[in-house]
Structures are given as structure tokens and as C-alpha cells.
Amino acid sequence: MDIREAAIRKMAEVLGHVPESITEDAVLTTLVSSSFVLVEMVIELQEEFGVRFQQVDMNGVTTVGQLLKLIESRVAD
């Protein structure tokens, strides 16, 4: 399973969605019921991949695809 697929599965798990419903062009804020769920999802993704984000890293990250790219870049570091 590649990073993108694993990340989407994790997002689906946190959000209680099926992975197929999470597309890369989906806007993150439309997927979550509240800002706190987004916090939870971002923290869970960091735990899952052993990476660390800071608030500044999330500036400009609005879609699933952008978040996946951020995870991939951190895993590669």
C-alpha cells in the first residue's frame, strides 16, 4: 500500500467514511463536521506516518491532495 492510499484509509477511519468517498480534490473543511475533527485527523496522520507538522505547514493546505503531498514530502525527508 503506498503512502497516499494508506493516508486516505486513515482519513476515512477518522472521519467514518469509506476510502472511496475521499477524493484528492476534496476540500478538507467539507469532509469534517468541525474544526476539531480536522485537528484529530491531522494528528492521527502524523502518528501514522511518524512525521510532524506545524501550523505554518498547513498554511495553504486546503484539499486532500495537498495534505497527501505534505505527508509524502515529510516521509521522504
Binding site: 468541525s34 474544526s35 476539531f36 475533527v37 480536522l38 485537528v39 484529530e40 491531522v42 494528528i43 502524523q46 502518528e47 510532524r52 507538522f53 506545524q54 501550523q55 505547514d57 498547513m58
Partner: protein
């Protein structure tokens, strides 16, 4: 009975404590089981209790709480941005707690505070001291992982956001806060 401004202020405190309980409850829920989650859970339980203290205080003063709109905390994420890791969660928590302690200290030192209000603030402050202590301790242990400079910068950023939210509150409700606002200058 108490005057309408004090009635509004006590209702505002109660509303803020309810908002705090929900805010920290949501943050606690977003964390994995850990010592920090345990402390955050205790904190949101404390905030819920504080709301009850204010309800009881108002009852002893012969009034019922007013229904108010958005609590102070609800504006936090909009102003400060979304925390993305544990350190940022604790940083925003510490900034918020300092604001609470500052406001209650200011109120307790203002003239003509009813004894019921003084006692309620004193009870709440006992918990607040613990809140600040556990958060400070937890942030200290994170210095090796996140960097002391980074933590300091994060606290600065959230403090600026807190000031922005507080200034907005003063602008909107300055007439109600009256001498509490003047005393804060």
C-alpha cells in the same frame, strides 16, 4: 439582586466556562490515550464544574443565567488557526488559561465585589493554578522534541491571537464590562 451589568458578566463567565469545557473536551477527544489526554480530560471536567459554580453563584444572588451567544473560546480557532500537533494544542490551552486567570484576578480586585462572587472566583482559581501548572510542565517536557524557541514562538503567536479576540470582546461588550475593562488598561 444584582445590577444588570454584573448579571451579564457572571452569565458571560458561565457561558465561557461551558465553551471552555466543550473546547477542551473536543481537544481531549482528538488525542490518543496518554497522560496529557488524562490531564486535558480533568481540565474539561473542571471547566464544566466552573459553569455550575457560576450558576450556583447567580442563584445565591437571586438571578438566573442569561442566555448569551458565542463564547470567547469559539472565536479562538478562527483567530489563532488550527493547532496541528500536541505542542500547539497545549500552547493554545496555556494562553487561554492565562487569559482566564487574568480576568478573574482583575474582577476579584475590583471594588464592591459581592462575597458570593469572590468565593466563586477563589474556588475556580484553585483549579486554574493546577491547569497552568500541568500545561507548563507538559510544554517543558516537549522542549527536546519541538525546540524551546519553537514553543516560545508558538506561544507568542497564540498570545497575539488571544489579544485580538479579547480586544474584539472589549469592543463589543465594553459597556457591560465597565470598570473591569478600565482596570485592565
Amino acid at each position: 439582586m444584582i445590577d444588570s451589568n454584573l448579571h451579564w458578566i457572571l452569565s458571560f463567565y458561565r457561558n465561557s466556562e461551558i465553551g471552555g469545557a466543550l473546547f477542551f473536551g473536543e481537544l481531549a477527544r482528538s488525542l490518543r490515550p496518554s497522560a496529557i489526554q488524562q490531564d486535558m480530560t480533568r481540565q474539561f471536567a473542571d471547566e464544566a464544574n466552573h459553569a455550575r459554580y457560576w450558576t450556583d453563584c447567580m442563584a445565591s444572588l437571586g438571578v438566573k443565567p442569561l442566555k448569551l451567544e458565542l463564547a470567547y473560546q469559539n472565536q479562538y480557532l478562527a483567530a489563532a488557526g488550527m493547532p496541528t500537533n500536541l505542542m500547539e494544542i497545549l500552547a493554545i490551552t496555556q494562553v487561554f488559561e492565562k487569559r482566564v486567570v487574568g480576568q478573574y484576578t482583575l474582577h476579584s480586585k475590583s471594588p464592591n465585589v459581592p462575597i458570593e462572587v469572590s468565593r466563586t472566583i477563589a474556588d475556580i482559581m484553585l483549579d486554574e493554578q493546577w491547569h497552568i501548572r500541568w500545561i507548563r510542565g507538559a510544554l517543558k517536557t516537549m522542549e527536546s522534541e519541538y525546540g524551546a524557541d519553537n514553543i516560545r514562538d508558538t506561544l507568542k503567536r497564540f498570545t497575539a491571537a488571544d489579544r485580538e479576540v479579547y480586544a474584539r470582546t472589549i469592543t463589543e461588550h465594553g459597556d457591560r464590562l465597565g470598570e473591569l475593562r478600565l482596570a485592565s488598561k
